[in-house]
């Protein structure tokens, strides 16, 4: 493989925002996740839990509720008082309707999917009718005294339970009047000065209302009589979320201490027909508040302030007990936030509202394998570029020569020119962007930095020629058939002839840049593409998919390469297919055409195409072979996949030149150190 000097970078101060709401859609097995900065991400749970779409956030948007309605329509409501619908095909926000009730705290879609209920700050519950292209205000229910923090529909659609501060009201949908008002105790068996906030309610079809509140109680109420049936004290802190399964035989609650409890309806004795709700399983996968939970038919999904998305399949619901039934924790982003300029050794970090440009340090020392070399020159923070406006940055890129920076938000596209004089840099913005260059899903510069490729969210692909300080629009490839995906990836060959774009469900399109026409299309695969790159001399396109399959396609020959066919015939090693995190970057060695370097969050791998492939019996993760072992043994155990887990968690890894690698790590403790404070837990002996 060779010897490399590795730049271990830990100054990328990436802190993801906490998860605020989660909504599970049963028909398409998709999960919509909304974060505290306003970003909404859609995960495809059947495609190996891959994030396939996302809507960038906005500073003024503080989403408090998210729900799916009939026909795969996604709605969100927040503290700015507006209900927004997201267009999953065009990847933008369709419209925002002001509910005129102040900040919106909760939202629920009716079981039929045609009506939307919204609970506002002023205590009013508003009913909206979902029309094919918009939502229409229908009427107000009886106004309550304090803010409505949680809502739940009865499965038949006739009644509604609304949780507020210190009480729960049950409304009749037809008349809109409050039928019952159930007062919640402020503390389990006691008195307290602090008001009891009912964070979640759930309405079951037998008329039971389940409420979770800030005193740590889970209470069962009978909605016909408006009385308390049972009360469980499960935590010392708030219980912040509740989700009921569709069959109504189990529900899950999340607490502020990070524990998730599973309640199930079990018969009282083994052969009796009477059933009762019993708290069966506690799960401690979070360290901070669990602000939202969801219950899919086979798994419990939870997310909270500690930014992890945890999906826990329930063993009794899973049919086949294989690796699919393991715990999934999604912490790191599924797309690349870092771009690298190899010539000048610069790294561009993308944050939500600013970009940072760093120059890597250098060292003059040498050492042997495993040594840490002292830096003679520290890494330099060259530029801190803040974006104008409240919108989040979608994508950014720096050109390989280091003189152009481009980034895009939802409404604007920014292009900057950098000048380097000795040790200083100066920045100049290229004004007057053309109108079609508005919001880009992916930006890429060509290897010689003369061309800029922009994939816009309407599906078109633009080629812009850069020269000096100005640009000229060369060509726009119109969208092909198939729906546009948000994980649009671009790859350009190093000679500048070929451009590969994966943005549609029709497969990866390869365009001829010199002749400006479509060259070929790689056949569509049912799992989304997570990373793509074109090899320098052979012009082979290497594609990695979310189910950990890696394909190699030869662009000049318009067919899969022989090596790729061999790999597909034999299949990957089972441990390779069981990796949790998707491959986010692929790169190549300039002098060794048989090597492919790829990485995911917990490992990086160099695939040597000249060595034999491993079968399921061989060891996939080879440690460094000790030198005193005989050559024969080493040759027998050597296989094509050289995997190293030294640097983790990896956000980015690339080859700077023949003997240098750069690895950007983000230790989990550094993220935890910047999160809001957790609940105090008293441990014995401390």
């Amino acid at each position: 493989m060779g010897e490399f000097k590795v730049h271990r970078v830990r100054f990328f101060n990436y802190v993801p925002s906490g998860i605020r709401c989660v909504a599970y859609n049963n028909q398409s097995n998709r999960l919509a996740v909304s974060r505290t900065d306003g970003t909404v991400e859609v995960y495809n749970l059947s495609a190996n839990y891959f994030q396939e779409k996302f809507f960038p956030g906005h500073e003024s948007r503080a989403t408090e509720a998210l729900c799916w309605a009939e026909g795969q329509r996604l709605f969100s409501a927040g503290l700015n008082g507006e209900i927004m619908e997201y267009d999953l095909q065009a990847l933008n926000i369709k419209y925002a309707v002001d509910a005129f009730g102040g900040p919106i705290w909760s939202m629920a879609a009716s079981p039929s999917g045609s009506q939307l209920l919204v609970g506002c700050e002023d205590g009013s519950v508003k009913l909206f009718q979902i029309t094919p292209d918009k939502i229409q205000f229908e009427r107000n229910f009886d106004r309550q005294k304090s803010r409505i923090l949680s809502l739940s529909w009865h499965p038949s659609g006739t009644h509604i339970a609304a949780g507020s501060i210190d009480y729960i009201s049950v409304f009749d949908v037809k008349s809109g009047s409050a039928v019952h008002k159930m007062i919640v105790d402020r503390q389990y068996m006691g008195v307290s000065k602090r008001k009891c906030i009912v964070w979640g309610v759930a309405f079951l079809s037998d008329g039971t209302v389940i409420s979770v509140d800030s005193a740590g109680k889970v209470q069962f109420w009978d909605s016909a009589t408006g009385t308390l049936v049972k009360s469980h004290l499960i935590a010392n802190a708030d219980v912040q979320s509740i989700a009921v399964a569709e069959q109504e035989d189990s529900f899950v609650v999340g607490t502020a201490e990070g524990t998730v409890f599973h309640f199930q309806l079990v018969p009282v004795t083994s052969n009796s027909s009477e059933k009762q709700w019993v708290r069966t399983k506690p799960f401690q996968h979070h360290t901070h508040d669990v602000r939202t939970v969801a219950h899919s038919p086979t798994a419990l999904i939870s997310g909270g302030t500690d930014t992890h998305l945890v999906i826990r399949p329930l063993m009794e619901k899973v049919e086949v007990k294989n690796y699919d039934a393991a715990l999934r924790k999604i912490t790191f982003p599924h797309r690349r936030l870092i771009s690298c300029s190899k010539k000048r050794q610069l790294l561009l970090f993308q944050f939500a509202h600013h970009l940072e440009l760093w120059r890597l340090g250098s060292t003059v020392a040498t050492g042997k394998n495993g040594d840490t070399l002292p830096l003679s020159k520290n890494a330099d923070h060259l530029l801190h570029l803040k974006t104008k406006g409240p919108e989040n940055i979608i994508c950014s890129c720096i050109s390989p020569c280091g003189s152009w920076i481009a980034y895009s938000t939802v409404s604007r596209f920014f292009l900057y020119r950098l000048n380097y004089e000795h040790d200083n840099i100066s920045l100049k913005r290229v004004s007057k962007m053309p109108p079609f260059l508005r919001s880009a899903l992916q930006i890429l510069f060509s290897e010689d930095s003369t061309k800029l490729f922009v994939a816009s969210n309407q599906g078109a692909l633009h080629i812009v020629q850069l020269s000096g300080g100005s640009f000229k629009h060369l060509h726009a490839f119109q969208p092909q058939s198939g729906t546009v995906e948000a994980m649009c990836l671009l790859a350009v060959s190093s000679d500048g002839n070929w451009l590969a774009a994966s943005g549609t469900s029709a497969g990866v399109h390869v365009y001829n840049v010199k002749q400006l026409k479509l060259h070929c299309t790689v056949p569509a695969y049912n799992f989304p593409v997570t990373a793509m790159a074109i090899a320098p001399n052979t012009n082979n396109l290497v594609i990695a998919h979310s189910d950990q399959q890696v394909f190699e396609y030869s662009i000049p020959d318009k067919q899969y390469t022989d090596w790729s066919r061999t790999v597909q015939k034999q299949g990957f090693h089972h441990l390779w297919l069981q990796r949790d995190t998707p491959i986010t970057h692929i790169s190549f060695h300039p002098k060794r055409p048989m090597h492919i370097l790829l990485h995911d969050a917990y490992m990086f791998c160099i695939i040597d195409k000249s060595l034999p492939l491993p079968n399921d019996k061989t060891l996939l993760y080879n440690p460094f072979p000790p030198t005193n072992e005989s050559d024969v043994v080493r040759r027998r155990t050597a296989h094509a996949f050289k995997i190293s887990k030294i640097y983790k968690p990896l956000l980015f890894m690339d080859l700077l030149d023949e003997r240098t690698l750069v690895a950007v790590e983000r230790p989990l403790d550094d993220i935890i150190a910047q999160l809001p404070p957790p609940i105090k837990k008293k441990k014995f002996g401390t």
């Binding site: 900040p103 803010r147 403790d669 935890i672 150190a673 002996g685």
Partner: protein, 257 residues
């Protein structure tokens, strides 16, 4: 007019003295009463009474002053004039002050408003619009136009084109401050509520430092607690120390050689 003053310390001859002095006192009082017509008599009477009490002891033997009516009248008139003049001066001063303040306010208001050119353009544009739809209010019109302007270049209404000619290079959005303030304050109040209920007083929260140290304390090999460094502390001191070290090294090298 004759006021009897009680003289407890005096001998029986005091009654005579009182009668004698009553007259000059009354003369003075009369004159003074003639002078100070507008003022309440009690005030006027109080002063000369007190003065005369002490004065009478000394000027017991001397004859009272003789004042002609004319001179007294002249004095009184002068006093009056003086008083009136001071009043007038005060009034004019106040007026001037008020004027200056008004001007200052007008200037400040002017500074706050948009420059005249833009206002002219806006008013002319709105007038033409008003001609088209006479029923609308100007304010509402302005707001609507600005909303159209915000929607972007895609809409093909004639109104929008007019607005585009007004705002050539700039793209701005005009909203009523009253509405925006209300919305912002409500959102801020809502966020404060959430923050208070989750992280406010009464919640059992611990710091990140303690949270990370807890794990260290429970390990089989106990480690020290986590400490956060503040790199921004004492930057100047560190820089000075660095500079001093460099200079000292150079000096050391020189002396060694």
């Amino acid at each position: 007019m004759v006021q009897l003053r009680p003289r407890a310390s005096r001998a029986p001859a005091s009654a005579e003295a009182m009668v004698d002095e009553g007259q000059p006192a009354s003369e003075e009082e009369e004159a003074e009463h003639g002078l100070l017509l507008g003022q309440p008599s009690s005030g006027a009477a109080a002063e000369p009474l007190e003065e005369d009490e002490e004065g009478d002891d000394e000027f017991d033997d001397e004859a009272p002053e003789e004042l002609t009516f004319a001179s007294a009248q002249a004095e009184a008139r002068e006093e009056e004039r003086r008083v009136r003049e001071t009043v007038r001066r005060d009034k004019t001063l106040l007026k001037e002050k008020r004027k200056r303040r008004e001007e200052l306010f007008i200037e400040q208001k002017k500074r706050k408003l948009l420059p005249d050119t833009i206002l002219e353009k806006l008013t002319t544009a709105s007038q033409t619009n008003v001609k088209k739809s006479p029923g609308k209010v100007k304010e509402v019109n302005l707001q609507k136009k600005n909303e159209d302007c915000e929607k972007g270049n895609d809409s093909k209404k004639v109104k929008v084109q007019k607005v585009q000619s007004v705002s050539q290079n700039k793209s701005y959005l005009a909203v009523r401050l009253k509405d925006q303030d209300l919305r912002d304050s409500r959102q801020a109040a809502a966020q404060a509520f959430i923050h208070n209920s989750l992280y406010g007083p009464g919640t059992n929260r611990t710091t990140v430092n303690k949270f990370l140290s807890l794990a260290n304390k429970r390990l089989p090999v106990k480690k020290a607690a986590v400490q956060f460094l503040n790199n921004a502390w004492g930057i100047q001191k560190k820089q000075n120390a660095k500079r001093f070290k460099r200079r000292w090294m150079v000096r050391k090298m020189k002396t060694k050689k």
